[in-house]
Each structure stands twice: as structure tokens, then as C-alpha cells.
Assembly symmetry: C2
Homo-oligomer: 201 residues x 2
């Protein structure tokens, strides 16, 4: 029997994750069972369980794919003229990437709620949040240093300091965008602009 190639295995893995995403978006994250995901994928149960032992494992893989792809594309974001993008534009782009890759804001809000009682999802949150904070911190440092002329070490320290708050503003914005009709995320984010005033020399 020929050995299953790595490419084939990776294609199968992707097929499962895409089926899971479709299933979550249509039927709800909480409501989608392993059987739903199996049916949606068109693969056998054996094929799925060969890749993922549980729905939590699938969710963790979906989330890290969505995030890794999104975050890599946003590292040290610059405008067409080469100047660093404003940190709030990065946050806006993070949400836009989420809308595109995860089909909206529903999935993260559901995953956070579930992570409260699911140790695997909680562990994923503990990995993902520092990754998001790092991208935000880097952008703040880059923008403050190049655009505002803040010394590099001060800019880096301020980026690291502000990143948890900006991550919280991102999460609160996603939650309100998902649950409140007519919520204006752009106006909401713009209110945070005073946080980026360069520190007095």
C-alpha cells in the first residue's frame, strides 16, 4: 500500500477545517457536533479522527489558522507611501481580516464563552492573546518611533504597555459589533486615538 503523502494529509486536514468552519457559521459553534463536521466534510469518521481527537482540537486548529494567517499579514503594517500605519488602523484591519476569514464576529465571541469551561480552548486563548498583543505592541512601537520621533526604547516600552488595553478594546469592539445592532466599530476605535499621544519628553 502506498504511504499517504504529507501533501495529501495536509489537504485532508484543510478540508476538515474548512468543513468545520462552514458548519460553525451555519449551525452555530456550540451546536455543531463532530457528526455535523464529518457530514459537512464528506469524509469518513475514521478520516476525521485520524486528524483530530475532538471538536475542541478542531476549534483550536481553526482559530490558530485564522489567526496565524491574519497576524502574519499584519506584521509591521505600512501605508502605500512606506510610513507606518496608525495602530488603530491595524486593529481595524485585524477585525476586517476576521470578518473575511472567519465569516464575521460570531465565532470568536462564542469561543471566548466556551473557553471559560473548556481547558483546551482556554489554553488556546492563552497562546493567541500574547500573539495578538505582540503584533499590536510592534505596530505602536513602529508608529511612535518613526512617525512621532519617540526614541526606540521608549516606543517599544509604550507599545508593550498599551497592548493589553488595545487587545481589550479589540475584544470589546468585537463583542459589541456582534451583539448590538447598528454598532459603529470605526467610530468606537477612533475614540481611542488619545492613547497614542507620544509621551512628553
Amino acid at each position: 500500500m502506498p504511504k499517504v503523502s504529507d501533501e495529501h494529509r495536509e489537504a485532508r486536514r484543510r478540508q476538515i477545517l474548512e468543513a468545520a468552519m462552514r458548519s460553525f457559521l451555519r449551525g452555530g459553534f456550540q451546536e455543531s457536533s463532530m457528526s455535523d463536521i464529518i457530514a459537512e466534510s464528506g469524509l469518513s469518521a475514521g478520516a476525521i479522527y485520524g486528524h483530530f481527537a475532538s471538536k475542541s482540537e478542531i476549534v483550536a486548529a481553526v482559530a490558530s489558522e485564522v489567526l496565524e494567517g491574519g497576524l502574519a499579514a499584519m506584521k509591521e503594517m505600512r501605508e502605500p507611501d512606506g510610513t507606518p500605519s496608525h495602530p488603530l488602523d491595524l486593529i481595524q484591519r485585524l477585525v476586517a481580516g476576521l470578518m473575511e476569514r472567519a465569516g464575521g464576529t460570531a465565532l470568536p465571541v462564542q469561543v471566548w464563552g466556551r473557553a471559560v469551561i473548556d481547558p483546551e480552548l482556554r489554553a488556546m486563548f492563552g497562546t493567541v492573546v500574547p500573539a495578538i498583543r505582540a503584533v499590536i505592541a510592534d505596530q505602536i512601537a513602529l508608529w511612535m518611533h518613526e512617525t512621532c520621533g519617540v526614541p526606540d526604547d521608549v516606543a517599544v516600552a509604550r507599545g508593550a504597555e498599551l497592548a493589553p488595553l488595545m487587545t481589550g478594546i479589540l475584544q470589546g469592539g468585537i463583542t459589541q459589533a456582534e451583539l448590538l445592532d447598528g454598532f459603529d466599530l470605526t467610530a468606537y476605535l477612533a475614540l481611542a486615538a488619545p492613547l497614542f499621544e507620544p509621551p512628553a519628553a
Copy 2:
């Protein structure tokens, strides 16, 4: 047969809500069924369904009790010397009230996740968020007017403008406090202080 008094009805209602809260905190919000809540309350199924048609109705009642009690106590908060409390102290007090009344930050994060797919909880969110925003907006206006000498109409407008962002900061802080070990909510909130610089005259 004597008519069941309003007091008796209200005591029963409270008994059910307290049982539901205990059940949510111990077994998880998602995992607690109507049967669990009935068992926890020590009442009959009929007694429970006479008050609440579904778990969502119970959750909505629990959330509004927790919030109404908490919010009423925080309206126009002042320090012992009579000066208005800083808006960030109000936010801190909101979280402390949540810890005390809801036993921690787990319940709101789970309810937000569930509200994505539960119309009754979503509607509750749509009522609760404006109530929280209003208390925050009033505190910002009071503090800016009395402490910073900002004209009343400007202070009121700034309070209303900032309230959605502060609500998001509160939600993001609750989510991170619940899901990240060692998260420092006080330090996180303190970062938002520059948002309350009075507008230039």
C-alpha cells in the same frame, strides 16, 4: 384555597434565581439544564415553570438582577469627601460588583458567547449595554464638569461619546481577567486614563 401572596411569589422567584446562579457557577452556565436548576432549588418542576418558561428566561432574569442591583448602587458615585469618583474607579467598582454578585467573571463571558445564537439573551444584551453605558456616561460627565471644570453640556456630550469605548474596555477586561492567568485588571484600566483628559477649551 388562599391566594398565593405577591410576597410569597417574589420569595419563590428569588429562590429560583439563586439556585440558578449556584448551578451556573458550579456546573457551568452552558451545562446547567432546567432539571439541574430545579434540583438545586428544591422546588417542583411545576413551581419553576410557573415563573420561568425556559433557561434563557432564567438567565435573563439573573443577569438583570445582578446588573440592576449593581448599577443602581453606582449612579453618580462620589468619594467620601463628596467629590465625584474618577470614571475608571466606577469601572473598577462595576467589576468588583460583578465578582461579588455573580461570583466572578465567568458568567458574563459565557452569556455573551451564548447570546450570539440565542435571541432572548441577545435582546437582553441590547437592553443591558445601554444601561451600563448610561451609568458610565453620567459618571464621566459628572467628573469632567465638577472636577475638571468642563462646561456641563460639553461634559455630557463627552460622556456619551466615550461610553461605548469604556463599555468595550470593560468587556475586554472581563474577558481577559476570566481567561488569562495573572491578568492585572487594575493596571489594564489605569492605561485608559489619558482618555479623560479634559478637551482643550
